[in-house]
Symmetry: C2
Subunit: 378 residues, 2 copies
């Protein structure tokens, strides 16, 4: 049974101090139902992707929490897989529809991060890491700095090439009114920005963000619908210390291979992709893990602008990615799906990729312990 995406919307991403998670979820859920052409009471189950509400806010039971807000009494559940919570919520919603038990399912990703002290947010985010990493006081910038160093050593990847990931993604975000940052930046600005964990500068890092995104998935076939033609996930060790190679995320390779097989397509068929650029190095590795470029060649390809909007075979992170559109962690995986859905539907406005008919999303939890890959088809 094909799973159709009936609608997809995101809230504005950014520092949203005047709205609560309730407000955000209500906004995107109502807009998604409206776009799908029905009232919310047609929804038969609710899947909420969220990571930090429990550790930062003490609020659990978000399935019921948001269902109450939406006036629903259908099955509702929170899905948590660190920064891949949104993608995993969509994966389970996809399976739920394929099972035949539910026809129309609401997937909501939401995170409210900017109300808390940065130290508290950094500590809570480390809940996605291994015990050893947590005890050692590691943070995600530090872990990805290790990954970046390994990639630089093995493939000669430069800090300048990494900087170009951020430059491209800020350019894309400048065309996205929902992005957290809509300012364009230059390579020099990235290179001269303050060092967070060498070689990563602050402009290599995705920000702390509030935001929500919603999708309605359905068993209803549509004449010109966008369908999910693959939904796959895989797992790797939580900690970097347990990995043989830091220059690749094994879970992303495994999940994407399964996804290409499920969809019956090849990496070169993909026209648009939203990938998990929590740090600039992560997008370079994603390009290689997903088979878009041979190992060691993605950095120079990105540097040459080969994944930027324009006359390219593949455009990556048209939303602005995590770097510039923002990274409300539980919402990110859902937002990626919304962006690709809108691209395939041809409603992406200034950031529209012409002829986009096949897209991919790549959502990562932790430093690569969870990977969720979706392939969407027009």
């Amino acid at each position: 049974m094909p799973v159709t995406i009936l609608s997809g919307v995101t809230s504005k991403f950014g520092e949203l101090w005047d709205v609560s998670p309730r407000n955000l979820v209500k906004e995107v859920a109502l807009a998604a139902a409206d776009e799908a052409g029905f009232a919310l009471d047609k929804i038969e189950a609710v899947f909420v992707g969220n990571m930090l509400s429990s550790s930062l806010g003490g609020q659990d039971h978000l399935g019921a929490f948001f269902s109450e807000e939406l006036g629903l009494s259908v099955p509702a559940v929170k899905i948590e897989a660190a920064c891949a919570s949104g993608g995993m919520a969509a994966h389970l919603a996809y399976l739920a529809i394929k099972s035949g038990q539910y026809k129309n399912v609401l997937v909501v990703g939401v995170e409210k991060m900017t109300d808390h002290k940065p130290e508290a947010v950094a500590a809570a985010l480390m809940g996605a890491g291994s015990e050893g990493e947590r005890e050692a006081g590691a943070t995600f910038p530090a872990l990805y700095a290790l990954i970046a160093r390994a990639h630089m050593l093995k493939y000669g990847t430069t800090e300048a090439a990494m900087a170009e990931v951020s430059v491209k993604n800020h350019f894309h975000a400048s065309l996205n009114s929902h992005a957290q940052f809509t300012n364009r930046i230059t390579r020099q600005m990235v290179m001269e920005s303050p060092v967070v964990a060498s070689p990563l500068k602050i402009l290599d890092c995705s920000p702390i963000t509030d935001g929500a995104a919603a999708l309605i998935l359905s068993s209803k076939p549509l004449k010109k619908g966008i369908i999910i033609s693959a939904s796959q996930a895989a797992t790797d060790s939580l900690g970097l210390a347990q990995r043989l190679d830091l220059t690749t995320l094994k879970a992303a390779v495994s999940a994407s291979n399964k996804a290409y097989q499920e969809a019956g397509v090849k990496p070169e068929d993909i026209k648009v992709a939203e990938v998990h650029d929590c740090f600039s190095i992560a997008e370079i590795i994603a390009m290689e893990d997903l088979g878009f470029f041979p190992k060691g060649e993605a950095a120079s390809a990105i540097e040459k602008g080969k994944t930027q909007l324009g006359n390219n075979r593949l455009v990556v992170n048209t939303s602005g990615g995590l770097k510039a559109a923002g990274h409300p962690v539980g919402a990110t995986g859902v937002k990626q799906l919304v962006e690709v859905y809108q691209q395939l539907k041809g409603i992406s406005g200034k950031k529209q990729v012409p002829g986009a008919d096949l897209g991919l999303t790549h959502n990562i939890g932790g430093s690569g312990a969870t990977a969720v890959i979706h392939i969407l088809k027009k």
Copy 2:
């Protein structure tokens, strides 16, 4: 496609100060694989039910956390729906198998509660409640005391009848070597135990518990297998203030009606049931919500011993229930399924219900905001 339960095991429940969540999960997962007759590498996905690891321990990403421990690299995810996390994890695993994407799925429920200060545990548990209840300083004993008072006023339910729920469940637990409490108690002991939130005394309340439980679900048909013939969930308001009637849990009524319909059976066909007796009043209300007794008549039926092991049409909480077997919140829903599975398989030893061929589990999140019902058939 029928979903078969290949195996089901629980750890010892109790104050397990010398083991970690890792140890507990490894123990039950390996034992479940062993009982299913294969190595863990046949598992294609892992569903973890847990509520408090994030708020009490700061550890998220439990899907990957436990997969690493088990040496698995398959899709893994944490499911949270407060004290119904375990039942909800089983529900989503059931849908995952019915979707055709996964053949053998491991469901693990786990909670480690006794390492933390009771005040911290009580506060973390309120993460399952509404914002209003949390802000007012309510606790779950207080909320269930309100429910008990409403039931007493409307139906004349007595404290003595409530006490008999605990007496029965301690009697059953005395036959369960994995139970937290194996001592038998008397009505007088309950009535004279310290008041927690009137009319609930401490022996009306389920304890704080460590423990884990595991199930392996499969699409593989077995000649004499135990199958899940219904898996349903529903949602109600988080807070009591939003409910018209405190003497029933609407979500449990709704989910069980759907489950009876899915399985094609009636309440009177059920021979064994594990229900969510977080407080003694909760079991009385469960008996009525599930259609086992007419409204207002369950208390006296329990008082007369009609749901106790012996010559009865229906036996409830043969494990000892949450009250006496213990309530490691994320594990409870999985443990209930394990207990009913073992009853239908006829391997329950001294607590075996003769002729048990149809069983039900009733797992509740919060004060009734989430209900998950499963029906198992021999």
